[in-house]
Amino acid sequence: MAGVSRPSSFTPRVSDLSRKSITRNLARKQMQSRMREYGERAIRLISVPFLCFVATCAAPIAWADGPQSSPSIFAPASTPASSIQDLSWFVLAITGGIFVTVGGLLAWAIVRYRARKTDDDSEPAQIYGSTQVELAWTVIPILIVVVLFLTTARIIFAIQDAPKPQVALDVTVVGHQFWWEFRYPKLGIVTANELHVPVSSALEPRPTFLHLLSADVDHSFWVPQLAGKTDLIPNHPNDMWIDPRHTGLYVGQCAQFCGVEHAKMLLRVYVDTPEEFDAWVKQQRQRGTQDSSVAAGRHIFETQACTNCHTIAGTAAMGTFGPDLTHLESRATIASGAAPNTPGNLHAWIQDPDHFKPGALMPAMQLSDEQISELVAYLTTLH
């Protein structure tokens, strides 16, 4: 209801009990201009620091294309994320418009109709309602809802029911308590925590379709720059897709509370050029390296409980509770992104997993320092 009324059209008439209305009207006229000035100043007084504050908050949001260290939803690098961003600008514009209109009216009413010292002791006119105005401000929101809904529904269908092209890469994502397992069923690759996908372009589309499963509790796959999140729920497979336009590292993390170390269930998605991706696939398909110089470490690995949980292709280790370590050294981080993959960190991790991730399900193996060193020496050969 923009521009409802000017004060002059709202002419007060004092009831029979008093006849001071004329003088009061004059005084009121004089007050009005001063009042409006005061109101504007008050609004400026409040709004300027508020807007500065909002700008300060908004400043660190990354807007640019390409991978960012801060995973802003306003820096999309993939079709689902881009459609969502377009939609979000549209919704922001509408809601922003509503906010300015209603908030403006409210602020104006508060300033304009505040009690003043010069006021007499009368009650203002009692207004009980108006069918027409109320009807108007019921119908207009309904029309806005219709528009918003149609737009939203189109984007839902466009993202959720997008057909899967032949060239699409399939990846099965399995959520585990505090780490990610990635399986490439057509390529025969199993890896953990760091997802490699090829870049996709308008000329050469190569989307990746993710099939989402969970091994234990609920998790959620969220890399904001690539797509909205989708939950990984046991007994309830889900699907989502991405088609990243720029190469690089995209970060995200589990977005559904899944237990103690939910905070350190980090996600890293590497978007490679087609050549890089093919090279990576080739390397991942090799069997584990067999370096005799680290046989002692391998022996420790195979004779301790490590094999219960971890797999290293080509050895006796076939466990599935923990990440596949066959190509451990091809990954930049350990413990689902909690620490960089360095021999020192590996050593510390094996010695006391709680040091990086208190509550992680990997037990402290109570090995001696030498044993751990030999083990780390072995693990660092797993390229």
Partner: protein
């Protein structure tokens, strides 16, 4: 007709022996055995304010932990307990009891009754709620979880299966959560039944349904909603307990059970629960805004209709909490539409409040300040709600700090602000003394600033991809400064709440005498002395309009002439 006048109780004195300061045990005994709706109302509010301080302290612990990355103030386990208990406490031990406390105190007074319909059930309900809360907190001492003794529930207040299964949540921490909520749930159920019976069966002469104050209307709607929302939660908790104690398989994904079913059951409760919390404060705002604008509420029938509409629509929107769990696209679209529809009656309410202010003479007393801030904040909360209802955008925003910001805008920006408004407004009626306006203004401005510093900023870290429920975060994500700002804001709010608590205590002893009607208000409770006698009204009042006291104050221009 003998009753040609509106009889209003005199400033009645209760017999001296009831008031005279007795010995402490006697005094305590009086409170324990009481069935007086006013005393029980006070008990509810005091109990809730105590837990408000507790849950506030938990929130501050959370914010200290998150002030900078890789902080070690709390262990991950303790952090998870903190946010679980913060959420559970604020919803079940602060929000609902305090609002039902207001209902207890005010509904009989406002409809001209002498007590609730079932005074003993009322006492029972309060004690169930109270003992439920104590049972929940006993888990800090007696709970036996994965980490030994003293483990409070740590599965989130939404407690998604199968994290709550024995396999992932061993020990008894989760059982404490389920059992405490079942116990307090029965208390809430009793209160809801009581409020419905009171409003329908105890109204004084002339108090037709369409003359009831809006607060009473909203409590009636809320109680009806509570009946059909708390019970699904209780049912789901019973199923969870069966799973955990008897080896059932309701939510056992290994035996074909479904984790998604729990989500449905929880949110069938959980979403209307938000309305259970927010609608009473609509009622509070609808009482306070007219009085301080000096105008009748604009569009009373529309306000009632909108409340009922919100209650009905709210029962069909729950799955908007589940856009990311993989529903069909048609299912998603349906819940987008139903959720957006809530915006329409809510919009009507906001417009009607603005129209009530429009043309009034606004007095900026502390209660009104809180209500005005509520109007702005609730507007923003509603608009961010619309943003979240847009399913594709929700896929980004869900479980991020944006959601935290949104629902704190509702729970704090709307509900807590209005609860403060209500306490400033009705404290004089309850205690006979005014709360200090100076401290009140300090409280208001500090809390307002703290609120905005905290929760405005949270929207932005949400945009930047920070998920909720994480005990720490990576230092390179660009979230550091904003998190620090949020924590500062939390501290400011904490100081403001302490000022408020101090105000409550010191005004009780030193506050200005209130008189029976300090705000020049219009509803029946202001026609009794402050504090009201045990029987409320010496003679049963008779009313002729929505504003009985207006009719008395302006006999030349009474309301009843213009109401249909």
């Amino acid at each position: 007709m003998a009753d040609q006048t509106l009889p209003i109780a005199g400033s009645l004195e209760v017999t001296p022996q009831r008031h005279s300061p007795a010995l402490l045990p006697e005094w305590l005994h009086g409170w324990v055995v009481t069935v007086d709706h006013k005393r029980l109302g006070i008990l509810y509010v005091v109990y809730s304010i105590f837990f408000l301080l507790v849950a506030g302290a938990e929130a501050l612990a959370i914010r200290i932990q998150l002030a900078w990355p890789n902080n070690h103030f709390l262990s991950p386990e303790l952090y998870n307990e903190m946010f679980t208990m913060h959420g559970t406490t604020m919803v079940f031990l602060v929000g609902m009891p305090i609002l039902f406390g207001f209902a207890n105190y005010l509904v009989p007074l406002m409809i001209g009754a002498r007590d609730m319909a079932f005074p003993r059930l009322n006492a029972f309900s309060f004690w169930m709620t109270a003992f439920g809360g104590l049972l929940l907190y006993y888990s800090f001492i007696g709970g036996f979880g994965l980490y030994g003794m003293g483990a409070a529930p740590d599965v989130g207040w939404w407690a998604y299966a199968p994290l709550t299964a024995k396999a992932f949540s061993p020990g008894h921490a989760t059982d404490y959560w389920a059992l405490a909520l079942i116990v307090s749930g029965f208390g809430t159920l009793g209160t809801a039944i009581n409020v419905i019976a009171t409003t329908l069966s105890m109204r004084c002469r002339g108090m037709s349904l369409l003359r009831m104050p809006l607060f009473v209307w909203l409590m009636l709607v809320v109680s009806g909603l509570t009946l059909v929302t708390i019970t699904p939660l209780t049912a789901a908790q019973i199923m969870l307990t069966i799973d955990r104690y008897l080896g059932g398989h309701f939510f056992d994904t290994q035996a074909g059970g479904s984790a998604v079913v729990w989500m449905h059951f929880f949110w069938i409760f959980g979403h209307p629960e938000v309305y259970v919390l927010v609608m009473p404060v609509f009622g509070i705002a609808s009482e306070i805004i007219p009085v301080f604008s000096r105008k009748a509420i604009f569009g009373y029938p529309a306000m009632v209709a909108a409340s009922v509409a919100i209650a009905f629509v709210s029962l069909g929107v729950w799955a908007h909490h589940m856009f990311t769990v993989g529903m069909t696209s048609v299912g998603n679209a349906f819940f987008v539409l139903s959720t957006m529809l809530v915006g329409i009656p809510t919009g009507i309410k906001i417009f009607n409040w603005v129209a009530t202010i429009w043309g009034g003479k606004i007095r900026f007393a502390t209660p009104m300040l809180f209500c005005l801030a509520f109007l702005f904040q609730f507007l923003i909360a509603g608009l961010t709600g619309i943003m979240l209802s847009v399913a594709p955008w929700n896929w980004q925003l869900h479980n991020s700090y944006f959601v935290i910001a949104h629902f704190h805008y509702v729970l704090v920006g709307a509900i807590v602000f209005n609860i403060f408004a209500a306490i400033y407004y009705w404290y004089p009626k309850v205690t006979g003394r005014m709360l200090s306006e100076t401290l009140g203004k300090w409280h208001f401005w500090l809390f307002l600033i703290g609120f905005h510093v905290t929760f405005d900023t949270m929207h932005f870290v949400g945009f930047m991809g920070m998920p909720r429920s994480i005990y720490t975060y990576e230092p390179d994500r660009g979230w550091n400064h904003l998190n620090f700002i949020i924590s500062i804001g939390g501290m400011i709010q904490g100081i403001a709440v302490l000022l408020f608590a101090w105000n409550l205590v010191q005004s009780y002893f030193r506050g200005k005498k209130a008189g029976n009607d300090p705000w020049d208000a219009w509803t029946l409770e202001w026609s009794t002395p402050s504090p009201p006698p045990a029987y409320n009204f010496a003679t049963d009042p008779v009313v002729h309009s929505r504003r009985p006291l207006w009719d008395l104050k302006h006999p030349e221009d009474p309301d009843w002439k213009y109401e249909a």
